[in-house]
Amino acid sequence: MGWLDYVWLGILAVFQGPEMFSLFGIGISVTLVMILMGFLLGIAVGSTPGLAGPMAMAIALPILISIFGFTPDALLPVMGFLLGIMKGATIGGAVPAILFNTPGTPDAYMTTLDGYPMTRRGEAKKALRVAHFSSASGDTFSDIVLILCAPFLAVVVERYLDLPEKAALLILSLAFIAAVISNSVGKGLISLGLGLLAAYVGTGEDFYPRLSLDTQVLAQGFPVAAVVLGVLIVGEVFCRLEDIRRDRRLKSSSGDIVQAKATRLSGAELRGLMPYIGRSAIIGTAIGALPGIGSTLAATLGYASAQRRYRRSGKTPKMGDGAPEGIAATEAANSSVSGANLIPVLSLGIPGNAAAVFLILAAETIGGFNPGPSVFRQMGDAVNPEMVIAFGLFTCMMIANLLNWTIGGVFMRSMGFMSRIPKHVLLPVVLLLTLTSIYVQETRMAAIWFTVAFGILGYAMRRLGISPLPFVIAFILGGNLEQTARQAFAATGCDPLFLVSSAVSILFMALTASIIVLSLKRPKEAPE
């Protein structure tokens, strides 16, 4: 079985999977339909301020699993749907940013700077076209990098890293996430420590479920969905509800500005945008490949680098006054994060952002696919089913890109009305939806209470300026980290210095220390 065989098997797995219906005698696989539905839903969700891709992914997951069950056949349709949401939400986020000056997703903030001025000039349609073109370009570029890099990196990891090095690499990733994600290493470490602690309740190797206070409620540990959704979504809902209650400020309507009819982008205009898109796509992809640094930073950096270049060109209007180049730079940068973010997921099993967290959650819930280096293992003549799924996922991403290029723009431009849904009505519904979806998975009221409790924790962390993302990533990796360390310790015959027993692990540990020390010295900007 060569690599190309797996690529082909992956493509077949998508196109020849279980049939949904047949069109003119050709069977349409359910995975294709799911990608399309996820993609359209993603655009709608991204266009709605107050909703975000990860939220939709989280809520869709239990429904999808009830439909498709816990068989390996479920992996591609379910994850295809989630990937569709991820990509749709990325382009959808630009819609309210451009039309109403309210970013649909946090990383679209920079898009408002030039997008809304264009709307006021009557060029809204054109701005949306620029956003769509740049976003789709950045996304596609990033996916290609992912497909080329992830298998290679996984093979290197699998071949050269032994258990102690794997433990050291996990520690390095966690330290990196804690250090870069917020503008305070201390707060990053606090978030990390809390996440690990939550992961260690009820788990462990002894038969007594540790830290369970001798209760049955805690003995099974915290359900993953309750912790992740609680901190990421319920916490966010609480914060925004408080903001709305405090402000009670009614949304300013954009009024009815007469919009120009001629909205096509000419070839010359596109050529003019390309350097900005290309540069931002590279910045976004590089940032996306590192776990923990989000698309917001990518957008900021992409915009800043475009600004320098644009100023030299001396064009008008100035950036910030409605220059298409500003939109292009931002959207290309934040969209190119999503594909590259799956590099650490698929090659190391380490999630870098919230969307990746939900993809891992889906894989774990369904079973039969464990993101990590073992996915890309060649097994001689036997077929490695996980590798087929991985290439199936790549195929799903490319199909979603194709949808993005063909129908994405039209659909996106029709989604303006979603931005008018009032947030304070939407958010309570999102809360009930989240709690119900968790109950349906866990079927015990305790899970709902855990979710509320972690929601309060997420709320408190946000109010104290502590980023919740290291918490979530540490929670997901906590068990893995402990087990790898235990196994490394046992495998080396109980060597207490197993973390510094080889050149590679010494390198990883030295990097860990220097990241922490360096970020203490250098105050950073642009927090997530």
């Binding site: 470490l189 109950y439 015990r444 009221m445 235990r486």
Partner: protein
């Protein structure tokens, strides 16, 4: 470099002390094996080591916040925040209690109680629809600072939609609270 910031000092030291207490009291008393232990003549890592390390992250993180963070990263929790959380919790508590107990209360006089009925319409919807409506409508009114019929309509429609999405198509999914009763 600014001076020490009081908010950061309080947060940092508070978290550091919390971490120490977790490590010395909770972890050490609530795990079955120590940091390391000897099993089958092999030294192994015990169940207390990982949580202790996690607690140490809290201590180190807290001390770093107290010592290195400056004014620009300081956040305070206000009395307003606490009041908001308290009212929110009361609201959640009431509506979730309604969700949990409304069905069993309604079935008090039914033969065999609520349990055999937990997967039978309309019984199985009583708790969820009452509790869910109360939750959504309560939150909307709380945020709007006024009662409105619109809030109740939105809540009813949302709850109904959830029943349509989760319960009708799937036999083996249970709406709250039907897995507990």
């Amino acid at each position: 470099m600014g001076r020490f910031n009081r908010a950061n000092l309080a947060l940092g030291l508070g978290v550091a002390i919390l971490g120490l207490m977790i490590a010395t009291i909770w972890v050490s008393m609530d795990t079955a094996s120590g940091l390391i232990e000897k099993v089958r003549r092999q030294v192994t890592i015990g169940d207390a080591l990982a949580p202790t390390a996690a607690a140490m992250f809290l201590v180190v993180g807290g001390l770093l916040v107290a010592a290195f963070d400056r004014d620009d990263t300081a956040y305070r929790v206000s009395v307003g925040n606490l009041a908001f959380v308290t009212s929110l919790l009361i609201l959640l508590f009431v509506s979730l209690a309604l969700m949990r107990w409304a069905g069993p209360l309604a079935a008090v006089f039914a033969e065999g109680g609520y349990r055999p009925l937990r997967d039978t319409a309309p019984w199985k919807y009583i708790g969820f629809s009452l509790g869910g409506t109360a939750l959504v409508a309560g939150l909307i009114c709380f945020v709007e600072r006024r009662l409105s019929w619109r809030a109740i309509w939105v809540a009813l429609v949302a709850t109904l939609a959830l029943i349509l999405v989760y319960d009708l198509p799937f036999d083996d999914l249970l709406l709250p609270p039907n897995g507990d009763v």
